[in-house]
């Protein structure tokens, strides 16, 4: 589903990602972990062709990430998601549906389902300017789920959500995984990752430290947090 081959990204003299290679198979619930500035968001950006790798290659569903076609069945939620304040949540979702080439009636039906799924019934017609951060994040997740994507790329999806919101999003993601969706999660919440993810990769200073199943990474008597601290602090 996702393949990175010897990917390096340089920003002038800074190496943000250093010769990283790994792959994510279809149906996998994968977490990319690392401290701030480790290069996680850069990898996400390269997957979506928001920035180009200095060397190496990335592919989604076998298609190079440099081609727009590879994003056909990909949903993306950015960290600190933004929505134009002049739009209502409903109009934002409608726009996202139309950008996926849906006609108006198909888009309307799809948006109704999405609004229910993200639990925002009754609030969809008010302007985004009146929403809380968590509500914006929910609509962002709704936009990412538009068009029933096969791959969901989530950059800190629970950012700004309260504990109940975090739990709801976790349950939603688990149900999506059960439906066979591949999920690429970029998160700091190690306890959440440990609960729900199949596999994880830990990167630090652009270098891949480990990529394996959670059960293989976390040994008996340890938590993911212990492993994370041990690997990152060297």
């Amino acid at each position: 589903m996702i393949k990175l081959k010897n990917v390096t990204k340089l920003y002038d003299s800074l190496t943000a990602v250093d010769d990283v290679s790994f792959s994510v198979t279809p149906g996998e619930y994968f977490a990319l972990l690392g401290p701030n500035g480790a290069g996680k968001t850069t990898i996400v950006k390269m997957l979506l062709d928001f920035t180009r790798p200095s060397s190496g290659s990335l592919s989604l569903s076998g298609i190079s990430s440099l081609q727009a076609e590879c994003r056909k069945s990909v949903g993306y939620l950015a960290e600190n998601h933004h929505i134009p304040a002049s739009l209502s949540g409903w109009h934002y979702l409608l726009r996202c549906a139309e950008l996926l080439d849906m006609d108006r009636s198909e888009a309307t039906d799809h948006c109704k389902r999405i609004v229910e799924l993200i639990g925002m019934q009754g609030r969809e017609n008010t302007k985004v300017g009146t929403y809380s951060k968590g509500m914006v994040q929910r609509f962002g997740l709704g936009a990412a789920l538009m068009g029933n994507p096969k791959l969901l790329i989530l950059d800190e999806p629970t950012s700004g959500l309260d504990p109940i919101g975090i739990r709801e999003i976790r349950l939603l993601l688990e149900s999506l995984k059960d439906q066979g969706m591949t999920i690429f999660l970029n998160s700091h919440l190690l306890s959440e990752v440990e609960k729900i993810c199949d596999t994880a990769a830990i990167i630090n200073r652009g270098k891949l430290l480990v990529k394996d199943t959670i059960s293989a990474i976390v040994k008996d008597g340890e938590t993911l947090e212990d492993v994370f601290v041990r690997l990152v602090k060297g």
């Binding site: 994003r71 990909v74 134009p84 996202c96 950008l99």
Partner: protein, 282 residues
């Protein structure tokens, strides 16, 4: 089938650009102010004007003032278009729409094309509406019918395309306000150069140049070459305004400003697409 697939995202981005701009309060204020100003010009058509002691007839007054209004509207809409274009990428970036659109199966060239077309359609409509107001005032109130007026307005739209492409490109390379000022400088330099060129062709200037003491000069100088290659925005306006006078014919040389601006649109357009392809999306 492939073409319609490629055009569909462009149409959507064009539509959203138009809707987003029209919803901006600043755009509405600018449009209403311009429309009121054009309506107020109506009073000037009914005055008595004397040139060299001779009173001008009503039709001459209307034609002359309409041409002057045509140029003012053309120049004014160019400035407004530059103002609208300079912040388009920044606003899309800040509001998350750039990331939203480009995370869908939409290529960067489709996004940029949609933005250009949306802004172009909006500014052409803006200018056409203002020119249309003048056209209807002169046709209905003053009974002076100038069919070439609206055609001239459409011809001037090439200037707006140039402004949009140039400002979008410059806004990727420098701050928005500097991009706007650069475009303003290009227009102002072109305007001053055209004025100097026109003055140099006057009889007085010719007489000064042909005085015995005057230094001989070569036919092709560096400033002549720069003047020839400089974006001919005013030239396009003059070419368009010549269409207002019915029955005026054009030589091949007189369409040079149009070709000049079209050439700039193509070159700057290619640079814009190339630059945006390497742009990092935030």
């Amino acid at each position: 089938m492939e073409t319609s697939k490629a055009l569909s995202p462009i149409t959507r981005v064009t539509k959203y650009t138009l809707i987003d701009e029209v919803q901006q309060r600043s755009f509405v204020v600018m449009f209403v102010t311009c429309a009121i100003c054009v309506f107020l010009v109506r009073g000037c058509y009914q005055g008595n004007y004397m040139v060299n002691g001779q009173s001008l007839d009503a039709a001459t007054i209307v034609r002359t003032l309409s041409k002057a209004t045509f140029h003012v509207i053309g120049a004014g809409v160019m400035v407004i278009t530059a103002l609208l274009s300079m912040r388009i990428f920044r606003r899309d970036r800040n509001e998350g729409m750039q990331a939203c659109i480009l995370s869908k199966p939409i290529a960067r060239w489709q996004y940029v094309t949609g933005k250009i077309l949306g802004l172009w359609a909006l500014s052409v409509l803006f200018m056409f509406t203002l020119h249309g107001i003048v056209f209807f005032i002169t046709s209905i109130n003053l009974k002076v019918f100038m069919p070439g007026y609206l055609v001239a307005s459409i011809l001037c739209s090439i200037n707006l395309l140039f402004v949009i492409i140039a400002v979008l490109l410059l806004s990727l390379l420098m701050s928005d306000i500097v991009a706007f000022l650069c475009l303003l400088a290009v227009g102002a330099i072109g305007f001053v150069a055209d004025g100097i060129a026109a003055a140099s062709h006057s009889q007085i200037a010719q007489a000064i140049l042909q005085q015995p003491g005057a230094q001989p000069h070569s036919d092709v100088t560096w400033w002549k070459a720069v003047y020839f290659c400089w974006p001919k925005l005013l030239g396009v306006q003059q070419l368009a305004s010549s269409l207002i006078e019915s029955g005026s014919s054009h030589e091949l040389g007189s369409i040079y400003p149009f070709i000049n601006v079209l050439f700039y649109c193509l070159i700057l357009g290619a640079l814009l697409f190339k630059r945006f392809r390497s742009e990092d999306i935030v």
